[in-house]
């Protein structure tokens, strides 16, 4: 059985350099994929993302990659979503109008509040914030395995996800006291609002865990 190959989904937005480098140092055999044909050859996916939801979905739909991604995710192939890549998994977003997402995780994407308990809170949220496990949610079985509860990760975003059911929420983060979902996990899908490839050694743990998960699945399928 050959080593699993991971597609970094390129829909023309954002910088893939750091994602590729994080894969390199984490032992993930990654390549940048720009169309459905290239996605077909992958054993797993990283959906990165910087930019606007609507534009990203248009690129994914026009290139045909959204269909491939949905099929692959439903077939059980590992999928790691990052930042906008988390938001794209939802049913819909309200960023610059209403847009439909990949609908792999039922839920919606909303703008962070600029007023929390009467206090002004800056949006976009830029910088290091702590990720916490929701009560009684151990991280042992997710890609956050080995990451300490309360670890700081790097966030850059104005929008956040609100999954319809809370069972997939594995991490929460505070925006000036307003708690929102900062990572989700369901079966073969894991996605986080922060940038693990820009969160130092603790962030790289998530890549290492993803590498192990991919290999485990790959052997299982082979």
């Amino acid at each position: 059985m050959s080593k699993a190959r991971i597609a970094i989904v390129d829909y023309g937005m954002g910088n893939l350099f750091s994602v590729q480098r994080a894969c390199d140092v984490s032992g993930i055999d990654a390549f940048v994929a720009r169309g459905p044909d290239e996605l077909e050859r992958a054993d797993g996916f990283i959906l990165p993302g910087i930019g606007a939801f609507g534009t990203a979905m248009r690129e994914l739909n026009e290139s045909g990659m959204s269909t491939s991604l949905i099929q692959a995710a439903r077939s059980g192939k590992p999928l790691l979503g990052i930042c906008l890549g988390l938001q794209l998994l939802m049913t819909e977003s309200h960023e610059f109008g209403r847009h439909l997402g990949l609908d792999l995780i039922p839920g919606s994407v909303r703008r962070l509040p600029e007023l929390v308990d009467g206090e002004r809170v800056k949006v976009p949220q830029v910088g290091w914030r702590q990720v916490h496990a929701p009560s009684a949610k151990p991280w042992a079985q997710s890609l956050l395995q080995g990451v300490a509860n309360g670890t700081f990760m790097y966030f850059v975003h104005s929008y956040y996800v609100e999954p319809m059911t809370k069972d997939c929420v594995v991490a929460v983060t505070s925006h000036g006291g307003y708690e929102y979902c900062s990572a989700i996990a369901r079966d073969n899908i894991f996605a986080c609002q922060f940038h693990p490839e820009r969160s130092g050694g603790e962030g790289l743990r998530i890549y290492a865990n993803f590498a192990a998960f991919v290999e485990q699945r790959n052997i299982g399928r082979g």
Binding site: N15, F17, A22, I50, K122
Partner: protein, 283 residues
Amino acid sequence: MTIRVIPRLDIKGPNLVKGIHLEGLRVLGKPEWFARRYYEQGADELLYMDVVASLYGRNSLLEIVTRTAKDIFIPLTVGGGLRSTDDIKAILRAGADKVALNTAAIREPELVRSASRQFGSSTIVVSIEAIRQPNGVYEAYTDNGRERTGIDAVEWASEAAKLGAGEILLTSVDREGTGSGFELELLHQVAAVTDVPVIVCGGAGRVEHALAAAAAGADALALASILHYQLLDELKLAQLAFHEEGNVEYLRGGRSFGKVQPTALSKLKAYLVDNGVCCRFPV
């Protein structure tokens, strides 16, 4: 609020340099080496500024950016001499996460709008180099504090945010390199007119200056001398081998820090935490 501590590395050719009021540049060493050490010590981001790119119209940063970004897993912002969305794209492809625009943004404010649309606001930092005028007004300068623009720095900060800038890098040229503390009045004025995060830059010479800026509401602190001079001793032994362009005599001879009290990045963060400032710590 979690404050970010961001080492600022001024780059000239292949070297890390440091000046006073952005002038009189001294060579300190290899930027990649300093960057790596800062990453290990818990830097929250890194800021690279090509301090001569605007002046000579060259864009020599790409290779240094790639060498740095390869092994550093925190955000890297790069500025200096970026004039167009093509320049921005090239720097991002080389491994930068964000770009800082000053001269080009002032000449062509529409660039801020188009670049933030194309790359996302969070990728576009507008860098403002301000000098306090005798009448008390802060004027924005370009080309590393050399060229007057006649533009009010505070008004420009407000406009830049409206155009789509995701952050403001606010440098007081008066304080830069002096170790006499941040220009907090400038910070207050800018923070009052914009909601985007403000990175305060120029003047940090002691840990108390960092604390004062945090208390004054800075979202992030850009630090240079206070951190660089601390690393110089570590570096000195390994350093004498290079002979690239620039004033290296300074390295071989004695040095004076003026008002700067060199401090390791990890110690500076520990001091902030001890004084009730929230920052990413321990690393």
